[in-house]
């Protein structure tokens, strides 16, 4: 499965990039729709074309990462669709480092304090700085 996706991913990325190129290169047809709000906002925040391409690719990437983190396949698509472009890029680039609010406060903090005390007493050997 992992090998398969390793083989498939570059192909899919290449297909996506190639697929989106003609759209970017094609001249805007004369009676195309109006200029969209996000297009103007992105332009005014001086977003480079490269950043925009990254955002297009980001959603696929995030989908893969969410699946790998155990999100059910039926939920993945809707979860990714609700992200803004900026959020999708954030998730794609540094999901591992994003803080995940969880908090098992009572338990973990108590354990920490107990271990700290026991470390100081010399009963355990968990935290190097107490030595």
């Amino acid at each position: 499965m992992k090998r398969l996706s390793r083989l498939l991913s570059p192909l899919l990325i290449a297909a996506l990039v190639l697929g989106s190129l003609p759209v970017a290169a094609a001249p805007v047809p004369a009676d195309d729709d109006l200029v969209g709000t996000t297009a103007v906002l992105d332009a005014s925040s001086a977003q480079s074309d490269r950043a925009k391409i990254r955002e297009v690719l980001a959603r696929d990437d995030v989908q893969q990462q969410l699946l790998a983190q155990g999100v059910s396949p039926t939920e993945v698509e809707a979860r990714v669709a609700a992200l803004s472009d900026e959020e999708a890029r954030q998730m794609a680039e540094r999901l591992d480092q994003l803080p995940a609010g969880a908090s098992v406060v009572g338990v973990l903090f108590a354990v920490f304090v107990i271990l700290l005390v026991t470390d100081i007493l010399g009963l355990t050997d968990v935290y190097p700085f107490t030595r």
Partner: protein, 323 residues
């Protein structure tokens, strides 16, 4: 333990280490100072606020994210429980919920998430306006983070305490200094979730515009229209807001509404090329050629990313009317 230290030296080092640790903890907790409010902010705020209509959901295991979301979504009138939210926001691999997905889940439930500027005054302002605020805290120390979401539902200025629905405890009072120390470790991350049409008290037009545009991209213009209308009412001279309102009107099939909004946008900022461009395109479809020509000419004269498109449209219109 076969280090080069003799037992006596190791004991001294241990005592020194404990002292450093105690000093560090004191620095982080005991000496934390209460955040300062500017006198203007202080005077504008009521002394005590408590939003009693925000329901409490106790968290199970690692579910403070879904529980916090359920509280603010219920307060905003959305009937959704923690169990329905868990598959939408919880990341099993991380045993928690990450910030971007907290915001995305609010959108999926049809409400708009507005990130607040990371300032204590903004947090209190929202509470005073009746909006519960989801905050992210690191309850432990930076080196051993304990990331946690909670919902602020009130404050007491004379008592210097914030009231939080947190973990398993509803309405817990935490003093400002301790709260701010834990909140600062998440870079003071916070948001309010509001139904389209309600606006945060503490945001400027630009930040609100971005938040509503992101909601519109996920949920469509019909859902976002009340939010644009409310924002345009609050900031009648913000050109970008009028422009966005025009786009939302256009997407929902209201051409006269869209034309009026684009006109308001160009009146507020005659340099806003996309507003001229959209106004021209729409006018030409409506058969108002005089207006179309005038607007496209303005758009074509403004340098920027839309100039090329404007010139093309201008040429196309001239060709059409000549031939």
């Amino acid at each position: 333990m076969t280090g080069p230290f003799r037992p006596q030296e190791r004991k001294n080092a241990r005592i020194a280490g404990v002292l450093v640790m105690v000093a560090y903890l004191l620095l982080l907790t005991g000496c934390a100072t209460a955040p300062q409010l500017t006198p203007a902010t202080r005077d504008a705020l009521p002394d005590r606020v408590r939003l009693d209509d925000v329901p409490f959901h106790g968290q199970r295991d690692y579910q403070c994210g879904p529980a916090s979301l359920a509280m603010v979504l219920n307060a905003g009138g959305r009937d959704v429980g923690v169990d329905a939210l868990i598959p939408q926001v919880f990341l099993p691999g991380r045993e928690g919920s990450v910030q971007p997905e907290m915001l995305a889940t609010v959108r999926r439930q049809g409400m708009i998430p507005f990130r607040l500027p990371g300032a204590f005054g903004a947090l209190l302002e929202e509470l005073a306006a009746g909006h519960p605020v989801v905050v992210m805290q690191n309850l432990a120390l930076p080196a051993w983070p304990l990331w946690h979401y909670a919902v602020a539902i009130g404050y007491d200025l004379p008592d210097e305490s914030l009231i939080l629905h947190t973990g398993m405890t509803p309405g817990r009072a935490v003093d400002f200094a301790r709260f701010d120390a834990t909140w600062a470790r998440s870079d003071r991350w916070a948001f309010v979730a509001l139904p389209p049409g309600e606006l945060p008290a503490s945001l400027d037009a630009d930040a609100a515009t971005r938040a509503i545009a992101d909601f519109e991209a996920a949920r469509g213009s019909r859902a976002a229209l009340p939010a644009w209308q409310a924002l345009a009412e609050r900031h009648p001279t913000a050109a970008m807001v009028q422009f966005a309102l025009g786009n939302a009107h256009h997407s929902t099939g209201d051409r006269p509404g869209a034309m009026a909004a684009y006109r308001a946008a160009t009146a507020a900022d005659p340099e806003l090329a996309p507003a001229w461009l959209n106004l021209g395109l729409l006018a030409s479809r409506e058969g108002d050629l005089q207006m179309a020509r005038r607007a496209l000419a303005r758009a074509a004269a403004l340098p920027g990313p839309w100039q090329a498109r404007a010139r093309e449209e201008q040429a196309a219109l001239d060709q059409e009317t000549d031939g």
